[in-house]
Every structure is written in C-alpha cells, then in structure tokens.
Amino acid sequence: MAGRIIANLIVVGSGVLVRAFAQAYRQALQNASKNGVAREAVENMKKVGKTMSESEARQILGVSENASWEEILKKYDSLFENNAKNGSFYLQSKVFRAKECLESAVKKDGE
C-alpha cells in the first residue's frame, strides 16, 4: 500500500524533474544564442558609437599616420566622388565617416 504510494511519487517526481531539465536546457540554449548575438551587437554599437577608430579611418582613406589635412581632404574628395558615381552609398558614407573622424582627430592635434 505504502509501496504503491511511494512508487507513484517517484514516477511523478521524476517526470516533473525531466520536464524541468528539458525546459531549463532549452532556456539555456536560447540565452546562449541571445547572449552571443546580443554581445556582438553591443560590441559593435560601442565601436560605432566611438566614431570609428582613427586607424581604421586612415586605412579607409588610404592615408598615412602623419598625412597633412590637405592630403586627407584630397583623398576624401576623390573617393567620395568616385563612390558617388560608381560605388555604393554604404561605401560613400564610410568614406565620409572616415573624414569626419580624422577631422576631429587632426583638429585635436593641431590645437
């Protein structure tokens, strides 16, 4: 009699446990994927928010570390125009952002 009750309890109990495990595993997977994507997204936003690193801006415009502002402007003008004619809007805006970033960097050094 008691044995039957105990057996019932064990069956029901293990059923509950198994279901809980399955749900937790599923949730953990979801979290992991969300975290992965979310982490990448946050890192990207931080990078973009920091007005593009100066070295990347220099690479985009093809300009050296100690290039003069006129040189930077010249590369910017030709790249901007070429991409407006034949390139994509995305590249054009990257070129623009690069110039913007270097502008603030160079102005800061100049002062």
Binding site: L61, S78, N86, G87, S88, Y90, L91
Partner: protein, 64 residues
C-alpha cells in the same frame, strides 16, 4: 563580414544573382581601385564582399 554588409557594400539586395554580384563588383572596384586613387583597404573590402555574396568564403570576423 555578414552577407548583409556585403550586399550593402556592393549596393545589392541580399538575394542578388551571381551575375549581378559580378557586375556590381566590377563597377564598385572601378571606383575604389588602388591603382586609380582608391584605397587598398576599401578595395579588399569590396573583394571580400564579392566573395561573401558568392558564398565562397564563410563570413570572417571583423565587421567593417
């Protein structure tokens, strides 16, 4: 580089056909050719974009 970014770089939709990809790649390379005043960095990005769109290389790490 994600497929989305590659499509943006080439000015295409993500569902563009390989023909359109090659055509857009040629056009955008003209604008960014290193021998013609473009920058090496942008030219390599354009090439990478073409590879990603054509499915040759799985997207690599650093976003643009």
């Amino acid at each position: 580089m994600t497929r989305r970014e590659a499509a943006l770089i080439l000015g295409l939709r993500e569902s563009a056909t390989p023909d359109k990809v090659k055509e857009a790649h040629r056009k955008v390379m003209v604008a960014n050719h290193p021998d013609a005043g473009g920058s090496d960095y942008l030219a390599s990005k354009v090439n990478e974009a073409k590879d990603v769109m054509l499915g040759k290389t799985k997207g690599s790490n650093s976003a643009f």
